[in-house]
Amino acid sequence: MPGTLRNYKAGSVIYFQGDVGDNIYILKSGVVSLVYPSIETGEEVRETIRNGEFFGVKSALAKRPREETAVVLKDAYALVLTNEEFEYLLTKNVKIITNFLRVFSNQLRKVGKLVHSFLDHEEVGDNQAELFKIGEYYLKKHNFKQAQYVYNTYLKHYPRGNFVPQAKERLAAINDALTGKGSGTYAGMVEGKPAAEKATQQPSVQSEKKLHPKAEGGEKIDIATKYYDAVSLFSQEKYEEAYKLFKALHSAGELDESASEYIPKIEYEMGRCLMAMNEYKEAVLTFTNMIKNFPKDENIKDALFNIGLVYKMQGNKEKAASFFQKVLKMLPESPIDRKAKKELATLK
């Protein structure tokens, strides 16, 4: 057998957790213990290696840091193999491979289960609906071959699925499109209009809302998305663009009741944009309006603090101090209190 036989004294360490090394060990005699924190509880776990057993395999194969510390409890002999020697050994002993595959797949299953236990709150996706949606995506992109594959796969695995009629319709239309018949049946069916009116060479999806339940209530999602875009612009220091988008959202939000929750946030962000643009008067006005309109909003203390900052920047110490004090008097306590204290201290 290849490898080097090495002698380890009791109390020594063969490798530490976090070490990088590509040696693989087989214990020949003595006692070696692997010490590592449990991934579930973080508590220390000790595992005794039996004679003839391998250790250090996974880290060596993956070329990753050791996960455990190998401590010698009683004087030991171990056969030390390099990665290449180990691989050579494996190819000559297929049984070892099967054993390791079993051990590793058990470990992977175990970790996988733990991961899933943390994801339990996730909505359980409907696999067949999701598969169908993949087809819809490709169809929308006019990737007909790919859409065709997905719809066929859907029919194969879910012959009684909820979307069987739609999948069959789509396939027929794709077939027409690919063969150049272009009867337009697909568009006709979806729109509920006579086929002649919608005679197109290629299928197109026009009623996505019917197919994608998530797309319903799309306007609310739209406000959320645009709000996020505006915040993104702010973080990119594109203050004017951000302000414009917030302002547009503000007017749109006033008309749409479902968006009302965003209005105070938008007003607050508009104030911040104006501050960054050095439009001090406008900024104070915007923050003041926001405080008047939404006296119970979570950003009130931040708005008061920002007004204080604006006055400070304009050199109006007295007014600045009065706003920082307002922040400190107002409950509940928040991280902004510390900042307000700091600012007050600099004013004195």
Binding site: K58, L61, K92, L101, F118, L131
Partner: protein
């Protein structure tokens, strides 16, 4: 006999050929085969918020789809042939035959699994954190590790990730993660772009996660 010659004789039994653009398997498709790529390139994609994103590109000699032999979950991504592609396709049943005739390939599979265990444990480490803020921070740290970027980096670091992807790693709803990222952006920790996120100071996130873990282990 060389590895490639052996593969050639195996091609009759397990070989499949695909044309450019052909799908080998798609996201949410049930399946229990894994693939050894012999010729051509295969890209693995996933549709995230109505956008097809390429996760990986495989080259001859690579193994993919191996998770299917472990669990009864449908495929988590789509594999598409980028050019003319030849693969060997194996399942649990004919796996032993492969082992006997091509142990090098089996060793490769062992390596793939070893790496997967490390990846899964790293993911678990994120999920065990107590709140979305620290989870999101740890996701950036993990992504940095994958790119061999030191967690002690104090200069801006760019990640080509979207909110949805970060949320997926956190195991949290995208809307909640979005709120957290917005607050990070407001406090100047990160910059948000449509297709990427810039972390201003990775080391700051590292310290935050480390202190969260410490206080957790004390409890």
């Amino acid at each position: 006999m060389s590895e490639m010659q052996m593969d050639a004789s195996m091609f009759d039994k397990f070989g499949v050929t695909y044309q450019p653009g052909d799908i080998l398997f798609c996201e949410y498709e049930p399946g229990n085969e894994f693939y050894l790529l012999q010729e051509g390139k295969v890209k693995v994609t996933k549709i995230v918020s109505e956008m097809e994103k390429t996760l990986d590109i495989f080259h001859p000699g690579d193994i993919f789809g191996e998770m299917a032999i472990l669990e009864d979950q449908p495929r988590s991504a789509t594999a598409i042939a980028m050019d003319k592609v030849k693969v060997l396709k194996f399942n649990k049943e004919n796996f032993n035959l492969l082992l006997q005739s091509n142990p090098q390939l089996a060793v490769k599979l062992l390596k793939v699994f070893s790496n997967r265990i490390y990846d899964a444990k790293r993911r678990l480490l994120i999920l065990t954190l107590p709140d979305i803020e620290s989870k999101a921070c740890d996701v950036f740290l993990m992504l940095a590790e994958n790119q061999n970027i030191s967690p002690k980096t104090t200069t801006p670091t760019t990640f080509n990730s979207t909110v949805e992807e970060i949320a997926n790693w956190c195991g949290e709803k995208p809307n909640k993660v979005k709120e957290v990222l917005i607050s990070f952006s407001n406090s100047g920790r990160i910059q948000l772009f449509e297709d990427r996120i810039v972390v201003k100071n990775l080391y700051e996130l590292f310290r935050l996660v480390r202190s969260k873990r410490k206080s957790q282990s004390k409890e």
